[in-house]
Symmetry: C2
């Protein structure tokens, strides 16, 4: 492609984050933003291949936990939306509406799903009969659409994104709560343990809940610059949607009851943005081994037949271990190839020249440590097997460091500003996370450009944070305040 030329990517990420993010999307060909509908992206192979691996990991774990896969229609009738009051209010401004088929006006407007509660639960009402059908655990891989009125940003806030949404029905509030905890555990297993992303789960304040939810729990991923990005959230919908859509079951005593519903929505294309942002460095992308589109790039130093043949042979051996390997046979110089694949974030590079051939050795470059070493060719397989494991462990260690000393108490608005300006998250006393606290939350947003992210799951002691950081009334909660993307 045109811009796969001679590129040395070098932008100081910490200082010029916005430019870094825009340029890496373009240079690494993650997405083309020139598509002619505002807020819509063309996802290019380098992001699609990574996201496909991300989908695989997530779906495999969800299926293991008993979620069954569905494909629901993309279109939802307007009347479905109107059944749950808070939901319709929350989503109406963001819905794209289909009103015509061919030249005919449709009898009813159809929503491009912004999320699928109102599609799933009418079917739950048909499928669920007895407590024996519960828990009823589903999910779908799908695209969703939101007519964002705020500024859009590739991957982070687009008008179409690629996600997984899970919907479950339960026999009791307790079972529903357990599901929410399972969803949080899944988030840890996938986002942290596989993708290497650091995050904290907060229970969102009442003014920031999912429209229609009783309680909302959301993972905030911390960026190197101290801002947070909301990633998967899981919601206790309680019985509100069940009543709206008539999702009932007969319990063990033969009594009819409404089900307790939960939903969970990891947005893969948005999580991909966090992978790019959290792991990337001044030279470009750094992908974890487990989701890198290519694990190993082989660069023959010259294109002599003997080197190409050797490269092909190595590729074949490695592919048998289920490793994605490419050989760069383009007409760039070796140096250009090195920079290019470093910028693309490929974990390992095997350099293969005449010297290596003669000594039966291989030179291996490791992207995360920016280090080269030479190994005996006969040790390649064992070297790769060991490195594929240590590689991601190293990335996870590194990102876990992000949260160390990044949370700091704040007792005044000035404190909050100062904490936030150091790239940290402020821990504060707060009057209330129910409706009563809304005016204080608005002050945080307007005056400090930050947001109350919510409370931690385990009750915390106040430790001197006894007053609301804004109104100075008695603090009933310990909350966390941060800037977000």
């Amino acid at each position: 492609m045109a811009n796969e030329g001679n590129i040395i990517f070098n932008i100081e990420k910490a200082k010029h984050f916005s430019e870094w993010f825009t340029e890496i999307i373009k240079t690494a060909e993650l997405a083309d933003i020139r598509y002619n509908v505002k807020g819509f992206l063309v996802f290019q192979p380098w992001s699609v291949l990574c996201m496909e691996k991300m989908y695989n990991h997530l779906e495999k774990i969800m299926r293991k936990k008993g979620h069954k896969p569905y494909f629901f229609p993309t279109l939802i009738p307007e009347s479905n939306f109107n059944l749950e009051g808070e939901h319709v209010q929350g989503f109406s401004p963001e819905v794209f509406w289909v009103t015509k088929g061919g030249s005919a006006e449709l009898p009813e407007k159809l929503a491009l799903r912004p999320t699928s509660e109102t599609a799933f639960y009418q079917m739950f009402a048909l499928w669920i009969r007895s407590y024996k059908d519960l828990p009823f655990k589903t999910y779908q891989r799908a695209n969703i659409f939101r007519y964002e009125t705020k500024a859009t940003r590739p991957f982070l806030r687009s008008r179409e994104f690629h996600w997984v949404e899970s919907h479950c029905a339960h026999a009791s509030e307790k079972d529903a709560e357990n599901q929410v905890h399972e969803d949080m555990a899944t988030t840890k297993e996938v986002l942290h343990d596989i993708f290497g992303l650091p995050f904290i789960f907060f229970e969102r304040p009442s003014w920031d809940k999912f429209p229609g939810a009783n309680r909302t729990f959301a993972a905030d991923v911390l960026n190197p610059d101290g801002k947070v990005i909301q990633q998967p959230s899981t919601h206790l919908l309680s019985q509100d949607f069940a009543k709206a859509f008539n999702v009932k079951f007969t319990d063990e005593q033969g009594k009819e009851k409404y089900a307790y519903i939960t939903c969970y929505g990891p947005a893969i294309s948005r999580i991909f943005a966090s992978v790019v942002i959290v792991h990337g460095d001044n030279q470009g992308l750094v992908f974890p081994w487990s989701i890198s589109p290519v694990n190993i790039i082989i660069v023959p130093i010259t294109s002599t037949p003997i080197l190409i043949k050797k490269a092909s042979q190595l590729k074949q051996e490695l592919e048998e271990l289920n490793i994605d390997v490419e050989i760069d046979t383009s007409d760039k110089t070796p140096g250009e190839k090195f920079y290019f694949w470093e910028m693309k974030g490929v974990p390992l590079r095997i350099e293969l020249g005449n010297k290596e051939m003669k000594n039966k050795e291989l030179t291996i470059y490791r992207r995360d440590l920016n280090k080269k070493e030479t190994i005996k060719e006969e040790n390649l397989i064992s070297y790769i097997q060991a490195t594929s494991k240590s590689y991601d462990a190293n990335l996870i260690n590194k990102t876990d460091e992000l949260f160390k000393n990044r949370i700091k108490n704040a007792c005044s608005k000035e404190d909050i500003s100062s904490v936030i300006n150091q790239g940290k998250i402020a821990r504060c006393g707060f009057c209330s996370v129910s409706k009563a606290g809304t005016p204080c939350a608005e002050i945080v947003e307007k005056e400090l450009g930050a947001k109350v992210r919510g409370t931690k799951l385990e009750k915390e002691s106040f430790n001197g944070l006894n007053k609301c950081v804004i109104c100075s009334k008695k603090a009933n909660e310990v909350v966390y305040i941060a800037r977000e993307y």
Copy 2:
């Protein structure tokens, strides 16, 4: 689920095909047609799991052949459609239009993609510069939408379907033709060699081409009752779209030229229908091993802990071989479980009772042959490894038989009717497959309820079919006529 009860599925497929198809979709829980938008389906786990495997096989082979994966937006501006005259004419009546975002009227109508030529090629114009960028081979996994005015039918003709579409740009007509042949080879490798579907590729007559294509080649899958279903088609778009979207490249001599474009569209959810129809029998589904949601079902004859433990141990051993295994621990009787999983089309069943435990044996039922045999437990792995291979080979042999003696010459309208009524395809002389032949083709459709499928790729000798079967003028082509779904 409610209808996973005591079921003995038994419908004579050959005699009551329509009922059989409707009932198996419901009984095997492939899809729920009760979703409240006409022509839209809820795909249930049993079809989704199979389609996911189908996607994996197809995408893996396409990537191996150098196609790169993209995700394009679902929405396409109306103005893009208007750029290619034939295309807009062909698709306009079938497009769902998004006209509103929230409560605002959009400045331009946006189409829910019915196919994505008009989205891809504007980007090709930005990406392709030189002959060195060619061939430029892409694909995407996507949902597409068609406002069908004909009667819809689950999986076969829905208003939303799940497919893969591939778009490629080439430096010459010859290269484009080679791509079309590669697409046909891919179809054979996937649909025939993996999914076990029998088909013939025809070049479609000019009146039945893809809107905007120069030449269209399409695979007709033959059903047991002699009707055909169109499956993947591949199209030589030549330079028409390239001119409309300004897709140019500089050739080796430095001259600017328009690219030659091809596209190819295997509709997974429709191919899934062929898998159901071609392999199924009076007792229900029969899935090929390679795409069955579950390869082996283990039925412990009683639910004693020792049998359950043994079953779990076997499951674990088999899963290490990358085989999908389930244990049925429901409270149905063994007989009910047997019928249920036979209806679901699972290739193998392992029966595990006290007798088997005592003798260190396993009773294995094979769905395709409807046969049981007893093996020594110690031979399980080698037995399964051999069977997983022979199973699909047997299905493919069986379906290959479908085409034997199913093509018969016809020299008159009466001949055609008689051939078709025997569940066969008629081979006929025909005046012309260009526009000149349209009146004869209309007679075939109106009077015989059949369609001219087109010509075979290799030129055929007339062998007595010297006159057009309809107008009796000199035959210039040998065509095939069949009924379709």
